[in-house]
Assembly symmetry: C2
Homo-oligomer: 193 residues x 2
Amino acid sequence: MPKVGMEPIRKAALVKATITEIGRTGSLDVTVSQIAKRAGMSSALAHHYFGSKEQIFLAAMRHILTLYGAEVRGALAAADGSRGRLQGIVRASFAPSSFRRETIGAWLNFYVLSQTLPEARRLLGIYQRRLNSNLCNDLRPLIGMRAEAVARGLGAMIDGVYIREALKGGTPDGAGAAEIVMEYLERELETTA
Amino acid sequence: MPKVGMEPIRKAALVKATITEIGRTGSLDVTVSQIAKRAGMSSALAHHYFGSKEQIFLAAMRHILTLYGAEVRGALAAADGSRGRLQGIVRASFAPSSFRRETIGAWLNFYVLSQTLPEARRLLGIYQRRLNSNLCNDLRPLIGMRAEAVARGLGAMIDGVYIREALKGGTPDGAGAAEIVMEYLERELETTA
DNA sequence: TGTTTTCTTGATTGACGGATCAATAAACAT
DNA sequence: ATGTTTATTGATCCGTCAATCAAGAAAACA
């Protein structure tokens, strides 16, 4: 049965299964066997392709961040003006591609992972800096030197809304979540002081 | 050596050690032996008093929430007027008794724990509802029907600032953290629309 | 004094899980 | 044909850890 060129397919399946399993159990205490089983292969094969559980986790994290990055890039390209781009970033943060049940659960756990794993912390740092930089770029022309502080607030609130959603059951309400953050953004923008 | 009346002392020591260890390692993957050792006793004794690791975790979580609750109660009692009480709640959230390195690290992990452990979720739910209710009570007289939405935003931002602090190294800056949230609060309050 | 209760631990058990390995088989190259 | 590379798994090793147990020592009590 062995077909050739399986590596990318297997890896993708494992990454997907990892996010699903972490999201499902709400914990990093998922076994390689669980992940492999969901991905339709033996645990030995998972180790064969990734080397270690750690690497599987990191690949899953990279995948989530990549998806999110793509969503933001798309929103930025489609938006007009500083205000439009800011709204785009916020909306992208709660777009269905990222703001789904398993992804949110996994996100929270990757946050924890980055407390232990230096590489995970590095990845999360990149995400945070890029988000911050994007926000600042479009906030500066609108509110000047307050940009930095507001960007920090926005970043924190986005993360906060995320993890609070992780606690709730049921289908996440991306639009509602975006609205809360957007409301904050509007208040800050209309303060022309 | 056996002195009498050790139970509360041992339990308190274990709770403290648990928070320290979770905060130190940044993970729930702490062994009972690690906790017991830091608390100056054998792991068997820890099991003797708490029955299971799970119970130890829950006790630690209760302890953190109790400390936070006391801080908020104190702030509310000392504050005057709706606006003052709101500021008190925000400041209490970042007071040194709660906003210290280990506690923040533990907090994030308890968030994760509540995804798995029903009792942990229940505790976290109580905290969130009480915070929300406190905020709403004092927001309503100031901004009326927008109170609910703003309270949700404030809660999310507080949590967000917390977990972002968990990622940073070094001594946490409670005053700076409080200021970010306070700024948001001010903007919302000055909108008399 | 003797018995019971409280406190304490070292040793052990039992389960689980990450990682490795040997073995099988298809695809491909020469 | 034959050898090499890629794919794949079942079985296994080794370590870890929560939980239990048996036993001892000291206080309290009768």
